[in-house]
Amino acid sequence: MAFWIASSPHNHIQSQTSALMRLVILATIPGIIAQWYFFGWGNIIHISLAVVTALLSEFLVLSLRNKPIKTELFDGSAILTAILLGICMPAIAPWWVTVIGAIFAIVIVKQLYGGLGHNPFNPAMAAYVMLLISFPVEMTTWLPPLQLVSIEYTFADTLWMIFTDSTSLGYSAEQLRTHIDGYTMATPLDTLKTSITTGLTVTESISSPVFGNYFALGWEWINLGFLIGGLFLLAKGAIHWAAPFSFLASLFVCSLIAHLISPDLNPSTMFYWMSGATMLGAFFILTDPVSGATSVKGRLVFGALAGLLVFVIRNFGGYPDAVAFAVLLCNMAAPLIDVYTRPRTFGHNVEMK
């Protein structure tokens, strides 16, 4: 007869890390749908490609490291990383870019640092940045929103494009990317940045059709999709409110000040919120607990710093969007933030009343 020996506590909340991951994956769906609606099948193809690559490379590394494959492979973290990376890819980027990115994210950024829980950087963002600086051409093959395309393309075309560099009808990426008015597509952020460098004012710049009726055609809805997903996660308690809140607030404050000072050179705050990867970053990247700060105070600082960095890089940096860079910089700062925002232990430094 054997007695069961274990350490207290003997009961446990039923939540699990993998369940948490699944919830986050679920929450990306509205954003992905918006992306699909505006930019076609490209991202969904990239997401699937990234997921497959990520799982394969995770499997490979886990078996090399003699880790329990069954539990760790499907804990959802690799899949989530792959999905986030896939979302960030330009819709018709070549397939190998995504594959390299996913491998980099899993093998170098995650597993080489020790696997889940040990990576100092957000794997998806690190991979995205790596791709961006390595393959700037491929990583800027943005498509115009479907409303603006000059050449209609289908799912098959996109697939063809991603894997062979041209559609089945022989159109090149360059042609696909051309607007109805003949311009090659860039993201609204990129367009704005270019226009401002050429001396145009914001109001002049945003007359371009890529800005649509509101802020950024297509992108605003995608951001809205991720916002909805993020709110869902908040409601479910899967993510902590502090980082997204302070990130958005800080971005808001920075851009508002800039806009008030010089409205010609700085777009409105809502443009900052609703373009680029702002919402994705706020609710899905900055809330990554592994690479972020841990305490509430720390998360507030972390988010605020990220917001400031996004604003600074978008305005003064070389790249149009900045979320990935800001996140990586903040990841680097996270341990430091943690040290300085350590809560006062109960019973220590008690102020004598």
Binding site: I133, S134, F135, V137
Partner: protein, 234 residues
């Protein structure tokens, strides 16, 4: 025989076991900055090698006359003198590579590998061994440079020995190998971050090889040693 053993050990130390690039991690700045192509790496490697051998020999030759307190300034003087000479010579005779190595050539002065060897080895050993040590350490360092350069050049440009003619003369143009034809360059490999990552991988590979070697080596059962008794009266 014994001397032979010593040289063997020196070579082993310099080329592998205590490699200045991979193990001591000395001189990282030029190591990471100029290794975007094999030609650059080789140029800097050779320059460093030359300086290392000369400085080791000189330091060893003068070691008896150098008081302990001022040894470092003297080593620095010697190294700086050699580096400047090498720089001038390269400027005069290999202008192309001199231009592409740019600032990193005078930076050899601050390459810790050189002063490190001067302090750790040359200042305590006879000229022959010291020169040999310099040679081996230099070759070890140059080898790491070249390997790193090759890795980055292949990944980044898809070529090998691109621009070698700047260093070795016109004939070397035939050395250029088109390893891969890339549609687009893998820029990360050429950029400094890529150098860090490649360096990390290189170190990891070396450690892995060492580990494997250590595992395959049968454990030598040592004789148990005599215990020393802390006994004051016997």
């Amino acid at each position: 025989m014994k001397l032979n053993e010593e040289y063997k050990e020196l070579a082993w130390q310099g080329l592998w076991k205590n490699n200045p690039g991979l193990v001591q991690l000395l001189g990282l700045c030029p190591l990471l900055a100029v290794t975007s192509t094999v030609a650059n790496a080789l140029g800097l490697g050779l320059a460093t090698l030359l300086v290392l051998v000369c400085s080791n020999a000189t330091v060893s030759a003068i070691r008896q006359w150098v008081p302990k307190e001022i040894r470092i300034p003297i080593f620095v003087l010697i190294i700086a003198a050699f580096v400047t000479c090498v720089q001038l010579l390269m400027n005069a005779y290999t202008y192309g590579i001199y231009q592409s190595l740019g600032i990193f050539l005078p930076l050899i002065v601050t390459n810790c590998a050189i002063i490190g060897r001067a302090e750790a080895y040359a200042s305590k050993n006879p000229i022959k061994q010291a020169s040999f040590d310099g040679l081996m350490m230099g070759i070890g360092f140059a080898a790491v440079l070249v390997v790193l350069g090759a890795m980055r050049e292949v990944l980044g440009q898809g070529t090998l020995f691109d621009g070698a003619h700047l260093l070795l003369g016109e004939w070397a143009k035939t050395l250029r190998i088109e390893v891969l034809t890339l549609d687009s360059q893998f820029l990360l490999a050429i950029l400094p971050p890529g150098a860090f990552i490649a360096m990390g991988l290189l170190i990891a590979v070396k450690n892995a090889i060492d580990d494997r070697a250590a595992k395959h080596q049968p454990q030598v059962e040592e004789q148990s040693i005599e215990r020393v008794r802390v006994n004051f009266e016997s």
